[in-house]
Symmetry: C2
């Protein structure tokens, strides 16, 4: 297959579609954000263009929430990315609750909710990246499956791809991590500079 150079196009998709919550001027507001990331086990990043209404609320309180909408919530999830909290009270479409931090509104309809403390803000010119430490996590009872992986399918999150601006569901399970690659360990001896085998 021929490789083509395509400027600086970002292929790091899909990303997870989230509803980021913040109190803005004392009232709950949510914005749809898919430019998110995991920085460490309980440390996450959420990137917001500075034009958004939400940024001031996050900075005012030093807190935000990350709510994971599920596929059946696709309409309201997309809607929260279509209109600004400056003009529309989006929280009225959803059931709101607060947790330990008191100032990070969360969405009851979302199967999983994390309230975060801001530990750092990166200024990237047009965007601000809010780095948050998860203070507490809430989830629907049926999403607790003993960490056997079914919880992801229970959450049934919405994936986002910038190309074509499409949402996708999670597909089938294809293997176990730190496991399915073990079969290649036997091939290590075929390396051009035979190395000692890795100790596990």
């Amino acid at each position: 297959m021929r490789k083509i150079e395509v400027d600086t196009r970002n292929f790091m998709y899909p990303t997870l579609t989230t509803l980021v919550g913040a109190n803005v001027s004392g009232k709950p507001n949510y914005i749809t954000i898919a430019h998110v990331g995991i920085l460490k086990y309980a440390t996450v990043s959420v990137s917001l263009n500075k034009i958004h209404y939400t940024n001031a609320g996050i900075k005012e309180n030093g807190t935000f929430s990350v709510n994971i909408p599920s596929v059946p919530m696709i309409q309201v999830t997309d809607y929260c990315g279509l209109v600004s909290g400056q003009e529309v009270d989006k929280s009225a479409l959803l059931k709101n609750f607060y947790g330990q931090l008191k100032t990070a509104p969360m969405i009851e309809e979302c199967p999983a909710n994390m309230e975060c403390k801001v530990i750092q803000i990166l200024d990237l010119g047009t965007h601000e990246v809010f780095i948050g430490e998860i203070a507490a996590t809430y989830c629907n009872e049926d999403c607790l499956t003993g960490g056997k992986g079914e919880d992801l399918l229970k959450v049934n999150p919405i994936l986002f791809s910038m190309s074509g601006a499409r949402y996708f569901a999670v597909g089938q399970e294809i293997g176990r991590a730190w496991n399915i690659g073990k079969v290649l360990k036997s091939k290590e001896v075929t390396f051009h500079t035979p190395p000692p085998l890795a100790q596990e």
Copy 2:
């Protein structure tokens, strides 16, 4: 559905499984990383535990690559997360190429490759977060579909969930972003404080 508080568990999954490339002591090396994120259109984050062999190479050159493996590459992708470049020459299992930056090795078998310049490194104690600006992107010819969204399915990336340590494929398309939520605009009038309609 009852909400349960579950400590600080991170539900921000799935994330995208990538192979991060760097020259370490002048030789190409790859590590499987799924704790990645998008910070801006062409700005990405890649988080590596400080114990890894790759970190020194990224810092030495100020460059790294992000390669997107596809589902059929699941074994070699997982393998690159099982063994350290200190002991095994993982690049020997793959065809390597270099681009504009000269020091960020990329994987020909991966349908999409981005070479990045490090613009910032965040120290998060146990982890270093490398923030990279995409300098150039390369992709397989068949992944160019005029941005109609099929390219994600052509890339056929591998998703990762920490819970149960599982890999998943991307599932079916469920809607168009900035579009499927428009149907709720008609409901704005039912808000408790009727706001003016958002101008698009």
